[in-house]
Symmetry: D2
Subunit: 432 residues, 4 copies
């Protein structure tokens, strides 16, 4: 074990006021080049094209997750709760700080196109030849493995995992508050201090004192609001579609042996699916944006058009459709082709619930890869119940599915060729 | 003149809650590629390396300046003040929105190295072959010139200029509030709504009702706090030094005919001082950061070291020195050379008041290029006085100079060669 | 009609920043003694005994309801919506300002004991020999009747009534925000500015543009949280029980001809149910609290004990009970009597849903006296739908009943006589 | 010593989010009737007549001072600073909680009229036959004396005194933040968390780490703003004048043997200057307001007029005067008498700096009863300097005197008798 810092370090943070660093290990991790790289990856991907304030990076979010975890543990220690394994403090803090370190540029969008997974990269960074690995190994030889196990949810003590990954973990609590702050909406605010105060370590789990049930309800309702007003915003979806199509087109061209005017090593390897750690670490959003700026001048018109759309925020328009049945889709496809558009790129149907979010589900033992521990209440007689059993409002919103189909498409070419479209299509695309 | 929008557009803004767009011209200006480019230029340059929240762009600041200007004018119109020339509304709004459109990446630092001036570029963008020019010309043929005149402070009606450029203009009011919000400090907050309410158009100037004097005092004190705690922060100065040295070194190498491993067209022209508008518009912070990442692998060790320092935030250390006299500087220079460092790059003395800020100066008719109109109070008998005549606190802080000399240097090589340094130097560099 | 104020007046308000007064009539109404009296009536009754910040008065709430109404109307006027009858501005503003002017001290509690109704008193104040009536009559002879009609919901234009009284009226919007601010909880905050922006006058009703549905959902969820965490708080219920019992006992003693050590004219008339307007206006919370302080020394032990409990905040304890059946109640009654307590005063069963609140009900055409207009959405094709038809989350919480039975009792005498109680009663009263 | 609480208690507080109670003694003190009485004394006296939100009580302020003190001490303990005497924790917390317990209704105004001093009463309450004394004696027999010594600033360890009473003590820090919150102004906000973090116990004093100097400057500037915009507001001064005159007139009548229609025991003793502890504790603001309401019907016209003015907020008007010399005053006096007014009651000259405030004074060893310890900075080499030596801005505002003479008078009788006044007087009173 390494000594604490002789003097506490602080970071001024808009969400938590201050982030406190008390351990030499945490301080050194923050100063590694791999962690500093998170300053070049936005927390919310392309959301800044919808909410202009949302320009914050994964760097600040990672500090925030660390800080919430630190406060939870500090509270457990201050009260001396016997069910908290005090020796797990540092591994928990490191996992909290580093849980997102493997994210690449616009991760969620890229992971849909390429065979890549940020969690796998996080583990490569923890275990590979990196500065982070060097710092972690100073704690002990198997410390990098321990931190990686927490992130992979295979760590032997589930209470440590649940700090970072459960239905109400430090990760979610930070991003809801942070994304609300930077977008400027007030939906995402909930009473963090009260929730921290009612958390209890109990028999290998983190549970909530029943007196805090209303605060948890408030957290879940804030989450619901954030999903619908921020995360699923159809304009953000439009920018993600453009982004995915840029990479899809670049990959397609690459496979066809197209000679790019401009290419960089890490991008080439991404397109080839041959990324190694060193190059992965060079993939950041400035590089992606520089590529888009260069590709805006490529001779492939599809690629250059998509890149200009992204850079200059000329996104696809969307219309809401009730029922995207086969017949309708065929008709739309035919209409686009008839005016010289490419349906593979110039239209997309989006249904929000393809997304990895849900308001709240009490049990997820449904064979999914990732099961998030449910929220458990502890009553005054030490009985445990899952929150939707006790809370009418949580039960009533559990599993609530909402959302509409949206059809995305470039407006101008359709408007220019309106005369060639059927009346039904003109109405569908709202070109009147 | 063009028609208003049929439906008001809004942007959710963390500082002003909402930004309202009511004119077709404003809406189209925001959607030009030159304005969208401001999303790729940070408002506070390298400050995000000191305050991690300060990742906001000039895009959001420009919307904010527009919104404050809109609210001032809307208040003038609502009360029907006769001294407000109502026909100046649109030119004022356009100038507010576009006043920063010529900023390049890390402008303030770059302007110290290269022969470039963001205000000149702003006028090129307004008057050249750009989308912005096209939108402005739809108002009238000379409208681009009018907007440029406001920005150049040569517009015939000084009241319009003073909205955008005076001791208490929409620009400053937005950036103080916005920078305070994103850094997370509460020094910069003042009562914007009250100040807006006490502004009055009066004989070609904008003055403040005397009953609002305390609100103005509060604004000036907030400004004072922001300068000392945010804008002059010595860690931010350190990152700016690194940044300037990167460009100074690159320029030096370029002059020497050095073959860069990696170069891009716009950067090459910047280094050659031959930038044209098209390439200037391609210069953004993602491109600069991509260059730094590539140059981190250059064979020139000085350039690659500086680039790595910037990317991985391994900044120069600083110590406070009382009196940077010749003797001391010579001694420091000799000491650095003795251990193989280059004093041209590995040290820098910084005195905050070389910076283009001051707390408040009532008159600036001192031959400077830019004179900022002072803050004038209007009493109940329609007499005007400059605020420092009436306010003891403003008078007492007027012209207050504060600040210390800081010596910046790379810590590690000095620490490694500590044995070769004199005791006095060891103490100066705080290597104990 | 009377002229506007030559100069706008403002009140600094913690919730709305500033309250703007633009009409001579509104300014004079605020300065009447009957309106100033609202400074001596707390907005939340005894809630300050649970949340110490909740000391705000009905005066500030009334200004807030006025201000929200003013903003709604100002927005209607600015956009020139044809369905807003512009001539109804002043009557709407006056009704908003005065809607609560008839409230007495701790109204909700007193109205359960005495045959009194604050809305009836409001109309007496509007129509009787008062300063408010004088100011209103300066507008026109029938203006007091018009304002009273809005408050009684009999005004011929329902759109005016719905500003003040509907499922999402200015009254509710102000009190949710205000009570949240003063208690210090953040459950009650919602996006007021956005809601104001999506309100539309439409065919005699106020409807919500469908694009604002999520903001309305957020408002309803905030309301839900406020009810459960503030308005129904069991400690507040306990203080209300004490308060009601003080008045119940005083009335009982008065009927028995008890000679009070201290009595005041207005209180005597309250107890006799013979209150006239003049005396009603003298009934305020300082008078009630002075009475409690004096009655704390009365010879009637029940009355003096209750008064001391209220003054010194020695409230009844409560326990949650599942099913308050006859058998249990009889057993509790017997137990209390056995140790010399008076079950009429020393116990009370409370079920929160006896209270005049509900989360949201779309239709209330169930014969109730007061029907609150439901929230209607207006889609892009001008179709109207009630919100719970469109919003899954509103539908899922509509009519949700929640709440538990609580048994209230004085703890000390029970604890002192614990030996005399059955084991079952000791357990029920949690005396272990 | 008594045990800690088995379970921490919390109070929801709008300013500090939560107030934490961890000691049985603190919990019991809060529940005494003498402490609960503070709910019936407003923190800011008559300020609510100027800023309607300022209705908060000394109860919430006292909890706030306690909470800040608790946080300071907790930070000292967490870092294990050797200069903090850990055994002084409880006495410090009790003194913080109770420092204002002796305040009566509208204290500052009343103390100017009657021979009474809230600090003396605080000590009577701590040492007399009260519930508070009983709770304190459970700690030890001399504990009440110890707490009283802290409040009287005679406690042997000055570091304990300085927590509660110095230029930057817990009392001032709470009231600035709290008064700013409830009035709704944002002048009073400063970075409490940062200040708490830079406080250090050092050689019997509490000093500030020099790196926190700017945060202290910000605190002092906030204080300056609060004085001028809230505490010295001329409308508040007007209401205080009315209040003092009510009591002055009541005292005068009492001395003359006037038979009051209504009188209460504690008030009678106040007027007679024969108050004993029991009756003092019955003096609260509801009683004072009830008296005003009753006296509004007294036959003495002066008293009834003053009471009506206070209740219905019909305050004296004020005008600013440059130089209240003898000649002017005589002329005003004569003018008032000429139209039948009483200059002893119907006029008052007010100069704000008669008030017990000042922006900041480094040394106050000027024979005053109360010397507030100055703010000391501790540099990195453990040298101490008074802040105005290091901070230019503090030095520049130190001892700054500002403020204007105001003349207060009832407007209506002067306006009605305008014809009888000289032109000069009409102009002075602004009756045009």
């Amino acid at each position: 074990m390494r000594e604490p810092l002789t003097e506490e370090k602080v970071f001024k943070d808009p969400v938590h006021d201050y982030v406190y660093v008390q351990d030499q290990t945490i301080w050194e991790l923050i100063n590694t080049k791999e962690f500093q790289r998170l300053r070049r990856i936005r927390q919310l991907g392309t959301t800044y094209l919808t909410f202009h304030g949302a320009e914050h990076s994964r760097f600040s979010h990672s500090l925030g997750v660390y800080e919430i975890t630190r406060r939870i543990i500090s509270q457990f220690e201050r009260h001396g709760y016997p069910d908290w394994p005090t020796e797990e403090r540092l591994v928990s803090l490191c996992a909290a700080l580093l849980h997102d370190v493997g994210h690449g540029p616009f991760s969620h969008s890229l992971e849909e196109i390429f065979d890549t997974d940020h969690e796998v990269w996080t583990c490569h960074i923890l275990l590979g030849d990196t500065d982070i690995n060097k710092v972690l190994r100073q704690v002990s030889d198997d410390f990098p493995d321990q931190v990686a196990a927490v992130i992979q949810k295979t760590y032997p003590k589930p209470i440590v995992v649940s700090l970072i990954s459960s239905q109400m973990d430090a990760d979610r609590m930070d991003y809801l508050l942070r994304d609300a702050y930077f977008t400027g909406v007030n939906y995402g605010t909930f009473d963090l201090e009260r929730i921290l105060r009612v958390l209890r370590p109990y028999q290998g789990k983190i549970v909530v004192k029943e007196s805090g049930m209303h605060a948890v309800e408030h957290y879940l309702m804030s989450r619901y609001q954030m999903y619908w007003q921020i995360y699923f915003h159809p304009v953000t979806r439009s920018s993600e579609i453009i982004l995915r199509q840029i990479f899809r087109r670049a990959q397609e061209l690459n496979e066809q042996g197209y000679a790019f005017r401009w290419m960089s090593g890490p991008l080439k390897q991404l397109l080839n699916n041959t990324l190694q750690l060193d190059d992965y670490l060079k993939l950041d959003e400035p590089l992606a944006q520089t590529a888009f700026a260069e590709w805006a001048d490529e001779s492939d018109e599809l690629l250059s058009d998509l890149c200009r759309r992204f850079l200059h925020r000329q996104l696809y328009k969307y219309v809401t459709i009730d029922n995207p049945d086969e017949t309708l889709l065929l008709e739309v496809t035919d209409a686009l082709q008839a005016i010289g558009l490419n349906p593979d790129y110039h239209m997309e149907i989006d249904y929000p619930f393809d997304l990895p979010y849900d308001v709240y589900r009490p049990d997820q033992n449904n064979g999914e890869k990732r099961e998030k521990a449910p929220i458990l209440l502890l009553d005054s007689e030490d009985r445990i119940s899952e929150i939707s059993v006790k809370s009418d409002i949580v039960r009533s919103i559990t599993g609530l599915h909402q959302g509409q189909y949206h059809l995305y498409f470039p407006e101008e070419p359709l408007r220019q060729n309106k005369a060639l479209l059927s009346e039904r299509m003109v109405k569908l695309f709202k070109l009147d």
